[in-house]
Amino acid sequence: MSFYRELENHVHEQLSRRNFLSRTSLGLGAAAVASLLNADSWGRAPEAPGAAEEAAMPLGAPHFAPKAKRIIYLFQSGAPSQLELFDYKPKLAEMWGQDLPESVRKGQRLTGMTAGQSSFPLAASNFNFSRYGASDMMISELLPFTSGIVDEVTFIRSMYTEAINHDPAVTFFQTGSEQGGRPSWGSWVSYGLGSDNRNMPSFVVLLSKGRGGDQPLYAKLWSNGFLPSVHQGVVFRSGPDPVFYLNNPDGVDKAGRRRMLDALAKLQQAQFEKILDPEINYRMEQYEMAYRMQTAVPETMNISDEPDYIFDLYGEEARKPGTFAANCLLARKLVEKDVKFVQLYHQGWDQHGNLPRDIQTMARSVDQASAALIRDLKQRGLLDETLVVWGGEFGRGAYSQGKLTKENYGRDHHPKSFTIWMAGAGVKKGFVLGETDEFGYNIVKDPVHVHDFQATVMHLLGINHEQLVFKHQGRRFRLTDVHGKVVNEILS
C-alpha cells in the first residue's frame, strides 16, 4: 500500500496542474487507442496537445490496401527435415556414407550434438520423391495430400536463419529477435491492424503435439512484449474450457459479472487518474473483451455442427480435440470469425535420431489436415484473403547424426537452408522459389532470410514493415529490426 501512496505522491509532485490536465487528456486519448477497434482517425476524439507522438503511431489501419486480411501460421516446431519432405537431392544417395566435403561445409558452426563427430557421413532420404503440379515441384511420398495442393502453393526452398538452436530460432521467427522479450509477430499485426471482430481477440494461438518428448514452447512466443497488453496472443485450449478463467465461476451469473466489471471499471478509472498508467486502460479493455468472448468463444469452438464430410476431409483425428487436425479445423472457424492472426504450433519435428520412423509419424499428423485446410478455405471464399504459412524454425543437415545405416539415421539442426510453403492471398499459385546445392546444404539461388520472409508477410497484410514501429526505452523497434526486404518474386 505504501508503494502506491509513494508513487501517487511522486506523480503529483512531478506534474504541474496544467501538465496534469494535458497528460490526463492524453491518457484518455490513449484509452480510446487501447480499444482494439475504432482506432482510426474517424472515430478518435480531437487530439490533445502533446498527443502528436501517439497519433503518429500507425494504429488500426494498413499502410496500403492489403492482399491478405488474415494469416494462419502452421508452425512446425522442432524443424522438419527439408531433405525428407521438399528438397530432393539424388546426390546424397549417390554419395551415401561418404563424408560431407569440407568445401561444402566451409567450417560451418555445428551444434554441440554433432560438432564432436569424427565423420559426417552423407545420408540420403529414405523416402521417394515425385513431381507434382504445374510447377513440377518435387514432393516426398511422406506428404501425399500436400502433393495434391501444389498448384495452390508457393514453396520457398531457400530459407535461411541465423539461430542454430530451437528456442532462439523459433523466437527469431516469431519476434524478429533471438532473445525473448520482443513483441510476437501476431501482437505486431494486432497492434498495426486492430481487430475485425469486437467479440474475438485478433491474435489466437492453438497448440498441438505430433509426438511426445520434443522441444517445448513458451508463452513468450505469443507475448505482446512492450506493446499494449491487449495485443497479447490468447491461447485457445482443447476441452470444455478453451480459454483459462473465461467462464463465470459457479454461482456467478452474467448479470452479476456485468455489475462486477462496471464497479471494477470505476475503481480502475480512479486509479488511472492518479497513476496515469495506460496499462490500466488496456487491462480494462481486456476484461471487456473477455466478457464478450464468453459467448463468442464457445460458439466458435463448437465443431459438433460440422458435417461428416468435413471430418473426412481433415481426417478422423479432427474429431479429437487438441490434435493438429482439430486445430486446423478450428483455425478455419477462427478466420471465418475474422480473427487476424491464427498461430498454430505443432511440436515433434526434432529428428536427431530415428528419423525415418519419427518423421512418418509427424508427416501423418499434419499432411492431410494442412491440405484439407487449403481446400476448405478455398470453397468458402476465404483463401482469397487468407494467407496460410507452413514451416519450421530451421532445416536439417545433409549428414547423419549418429550411426548411419540403410534403415536408420538422424539429422542435426541446419540453419543455412530449409523449405517453407505459403498459400492463399497475394502469393503465386504453383510456384517454387530458390535452390540449394546438390547436398541441400548451401543456397545457390534466391536466398530468403527470416526478416525477408517477415517483411513479405507484413507486405501482404498491407503493412510496410519499416513503418510499423513502437518506441520503447528510447528507440524505435520493429519486427524486422533494421533488416528485411520484401520478396517480390512470390507475390501474385
Binding site: L37, P58, F64, A65, P144, F145, S147, N197
Partner: protein
Amino acid sequence: MILTSLLQLSDWALFIGRMHPLLVHLPIGFLFIALFLEIAQRFGKVAVTEQTKSFVLLCAAIGATLSCVVGYLLASEGGYDEEALSQHQWQGIGVAVFAWLAWLVTSVRLPEKTGWLSLLYFPAFGLSVLLMFFAGHLGGTLTHGDGYLTQYTPNPIRTLVGMPPREESESGGEIKPLANVSEAVVYTDVVQPILATKCVQCHGSSKQKGDLRLDGFEHLKKGGENGPVFVAGKGAESGLVKVCLLPVEDDQHMPPKGKPQLTTAQIGLISWWIDQGAPTDKKVQELEKNPEIAAHLEALGTGGAGTTAGGPQAKPGVDLSKITVGEPDKNDVAALRKLNLIVSPVSKDQHIMEVSAINAPAFSDGDMPLLQKLSDQIVWLKIGGTEVTDKALSDVARLKHLNKLYLDRTAITDNGIDHLNTLPNLEYLNLIGTKVSDASVKKLADLKALRSVYLWQSAVSDSGIVQLRRLRPDLHVIGGLSAREVQDFLSAGKKDSLGTRTKAE
C-alpha cells in the same frame, strides 16, 4: 608541333582542350566589337581611330588562334563526327587567318594608304565574321547534338522558314506515353526512347564519347572503347546499367553530373530488358516480369484500356490505391458503428473503408440507407449472415467503388443479382448458401470486373457452374467440394504406402 604532340600524351592536353568552349567566346566577342564599331562608325555614331580597330582585331586574331590550338587538343580526345569536326576545324582556322589578314591591313603602315592592299580589308574582315558564325554553330552542334538550337522552334516560325512541323516525339527529354503497353516492343518502345532522351546527345551520330553510340541496336551491341556495354541476360553486370548506378559524384557515373539523370524506373527497365536477353523484337507481354517491373511498365502507358502490362495470364485487377475519395463524415461512421458494424480503413492514406456486419447479424434492408452516406468510401462490404434481402442490393448498387461483396448465408435470390451490373470495380462476390440459381449464370458472366465468385451451397447446379466457366474462362468459379471431389482428395492421399516400404529398403 613538338609541344602539341607532347601535350597529347598527358592529361594536360585534355585539361587545356576542354577550355576550348570557354576560349572561343573571346574571338567571337572581339569580332562582334569590331563589327559593331564598323557599323556605328558608318552611321556616325562614334568616332573610332584606326588604332582602336586595329587593337580589337589583334585581340580577335590572337583569341581565334589560341582557340584553334586548344580546339585541336579537344578534338584529339575523339568521339566526334569526323566530317563535322573537320569542317569546324577549317572554319575556325579561316576565322583566325582572315582576322590576322584584316589586322594586317589596318595596322601595317604602307606608303600609299589607299593602295590595293586596303581593298582586302572588308573581304577579310567580312569572311572572318561569316566563318565565325558557321564555326560557332557547328561547334554548338558538336557539343549539344544536332538540332539542339532549333528543337523548340515554334510551329509558326517553322512554317515561315520551311521547317517540318514539330513532332510530339521530339519534345526533348519527354517520352511519349504508350497507348498499349503490353503490345509495345520492349527495345523500340521502351528502351530506345530512354536512351534517346538521356544518352544519345553524347553517344549518337554527331558525337560518340568513348567511341560509343547508343542510337541503334547494332551500335549498342558493338559497344565502345571499353568493350561491350551489356551482357545479354545479366542486367546488373552490364556496363550500361552499372554506370548509371554509380554514385553521381563518381567520374564513371553516367549521364555526367549535371545532365538529366535516368530515373530508377528507367534503369530498372533497361536492366530488365538485358536480363531477358536484350531482344529487339519481343513485346512487353512476351517477357517475364516481376511486379516492380510490371508497375514501371504500366506507368509508361496512357492509362487507357489497353494498358495491361501483366500479359494475358495475369489480368491486373482493380488498383485500390488509385481510388481517391473524400474524408467520410465522422457522424456517418459513428452511425454505422452504433449498429455494431465494424468500419475500418482499408488503407491509411486513402479514405476507402471496409464495412463488416460480423458483429451485427440483425443488420437488415432498413439499415441500408445509412451506407449511402459513405457510398464513395465503401470498397469492401461484408454483410454475410445478416437479414438483408434482394431489396438491399438496389442500395448496394450505388456503392460506386465496391470491390468485394459478401452476401453469403443471406436470403438473396436471382432478382438481387440484377442490381450488381452497375458496379465497375466488383471483383469478389460471395454467394455461398444463397438462393441464387442457374438463372443468374448469364448475369454473373456479364459482371466484367469480376475475378472470383463463390457458389458453394447455393442453388446454382453443377451444370450451371460449368456453363459459367465456359462463358467466362478468366473467372474463378468456386462451387465447393462435391462428394466426388472429397473422395478424389482422399484417394490421392491413400497412395501412401509407407507402412510397408521402410522395411523393404
